[in-house]
C-alpha cells in the first residue's frame, strides 16, 4: 500500500511536468514549483552523496584498510576546503585562487593522461577489434578527419575538391544527428515506460 502511494505521487508529478511542456500558460506556475522542488531534492541528494563519500573514507581510516593514507589526505583537503569556504565564502578571490590553483592543474594532468591513453588505444584499435568493416571505417574516418582538420588539403572554393571536403566535414554532423535521434527515441520510450508504470525499477 505504502509503495502504491509513492508510485502514484511519482506518476502524477511526471505527468504534470510532461503536460507542462505543452500547456505552459496554464501549468507554468505549477511546473516551476515542481522544478524548484526537484532542484531542492537534487541538492539534498548531492549533500547525501558528499556525506557518503566522507563516511567511506572515514571508515577506511578507522578500519586501517589499504589506501587509508590517501583517504586521510582526501578528508583533510575536504575539511580544509569546507571550513575555508564557510569562513571566507566562495566569492572571496583568495579562496577561489587557493582552490582553483590546486584543482585545475590536477584535472589538467588527468586529462593529459587521458590524451596519452587515447593515442595508445587508437594505436591498438585493430589489435582490440580486428579487421572489421566498422574498425576499418573508424580508422579511415579518423585519419581523414585528422588530415582535413589540420588544413593540409587546400582547395579553391567552387571546385569539386572543395565540395568533397565540405561533404566530408558534414558527414560527422549527420552521423551525430542520427545517433542523437536514436537516443531521443530510446530516452522517450524509457521515460514513458517508467511514467506508465510498465517498468518499475524501484521494485515490483
Amino acid at each position: 500500500m505504502k509503495k502504491i502511494v509513492w508510485i502514484v505521487i511519482a506518476v502524477v508529478t511526471g505527468l504534470i511536468v510532461l503536460a507542462g511542456y505543452f500547456f505552459q500558460a496554464q501549468l507554468g506556475p505549477v511546473l516551476s514549483m515542481i522544478l524548484d522542488w526537484g532542484i531542492l531534492l537534487a541538492g539534498a541528494a548531492g549533500l547525501i552523496g558528499v556525506a557518503y563519500l566522507f563516511r567511506m573514507h572515514l571508515l577506511k581510516i578507522i578500519q586501517n584498510k589499504k589506501g587509508a593514507f590517501y583517504s586521510g589526505v582526501v578528508l583533510a583537503a575536504f575539511l580544509f576546503a569546507l571550513i575555508a569556504g564557510f569562513i571566507l565564502t566562495p566569492q572571496n578571490s583568495f579562496y577561489r585562487h587557493l582552490i582553483l590553483n590546486v584543482q585545475i592543474p590536477v584535472e589538467a594532468s588527468l586529462l593529459a593522461i587521458l590524451a596519452v591513453m587515447l593515442l595508445y588505444a587508437g594505436l591498438r584499435l585493430i589489435q582490440t577489434r580486428g579487421w572489421t568493416p566498422m574498425s576499418g571505417a573508424f580508422l579511415v574516418s579518423a585519419i581523414l578527419s585528422l588530415i582535413i582538420d589540420l588544413g593540409f588539403v587546400q582547395t579553391r572554393s567552387g571546385t569539386l575538391g572543395a565540395e568533397l571536403i565540405a561533404l566530408l566535414d558534414r558527414l560527422p554532423i549527420a552521423g551525430a544527428r542520427g545517433i542523437l535521434l536514436g537516443m531521443a527515441l530510446g530516452g522517450m520510450v524509457v521515460g514513458l515506460r517508467v511514467l506508465l508504470t510498465v517498468d518499475r525499477p524501484y521494485g515490483e
Binding site: L18, M183, V198
Partner: protein, 249 residues
Amino acid sequence: MTWSLVGWILIGLSAVLLLIFHFLLKERKAYHVRRFPAVQRLKTSRVSALERGMKRGVFIGHRLWSRSYPGLGLGAVSALPAFMDAESASDSGQRVFTSEGSLLMLARQIALGEYQGGFSKTLNDVLSGLSLPGVSPLSFTAGMASELRSQPYGSLALFGNYGTEALLWTEALADQGEFVFAGAGSLSSQSVLFLSVRDLLMGEEVFTLPGLIEARAANEAGWLTEDILRLLLILMILVGAVLKMAGAL
C-alpha cells in the same frame, strides 16, 4: 499544425503502443529479435567472476539527467535491477558505482526493493555494495582507478551518462585481462570506448540492455514501440527530403 501538437501526437502514440504491446506480450512473449553476443559474454563474465571469488562492478553514470542526453540516466536506473540478482547478494561481491547523489539514492532504493524479500539485512548488508568514489567525473576517475587497483575485479559493466574519462578505468581493467562491457550512450564515450572495449553497445542499443539481460514483457514492448517509431521517423525524414527536393518545403 504546431510542433507542440506533433510532440503530443508522438508521445501519445508511443504511450498507446507501449501499453498495447505490454498487455499483448505479457500473455505471449514473442519479440525476441535482438541478439548481442556482448551481453551474453557479460553474463558469462559475471558468473565467472563470482566463481573465482572476484568482484563485479556496475557503473551507472555521472548524471541522472542532462539536456543533451535526457534519457540516459533513467535508462541506467531502469537497467540496474537486472544486475541485482540473488547471486550478487549472496557473496557481497557486487559494487555499484556512481558520482551523483541522486543516482546513489535511486540505486539504494532499487537495492532495497530487490533484496528485501529474500535476504536478511543482518546477514548481508547490500547497501555496502554502493560506492561513490568522487563527486565529479575526474575526481570519480581518481577514486575509481584506486578502487580497481585495490580490489580484484573480474567484470565491469558501464552504462548511463558518462564521457571520455571512462577510457582510464576500462584500460586499467583490460590491462589486467579482465572483462569490460560498456553501454556508451554519449557521443564522446562512444568514440573513446570503441577503441578499447570490444563488448560495446552504442547509441540507442544501450536502452535495450535491461531486456537483453532479463527478458520481460515491459522490455520487449519497449523494443517493439521503439522499432515502430524508428520506422515512422525514417519514413518522415524520407518524405521530408523528397518534399524539400520538390520545393514543397
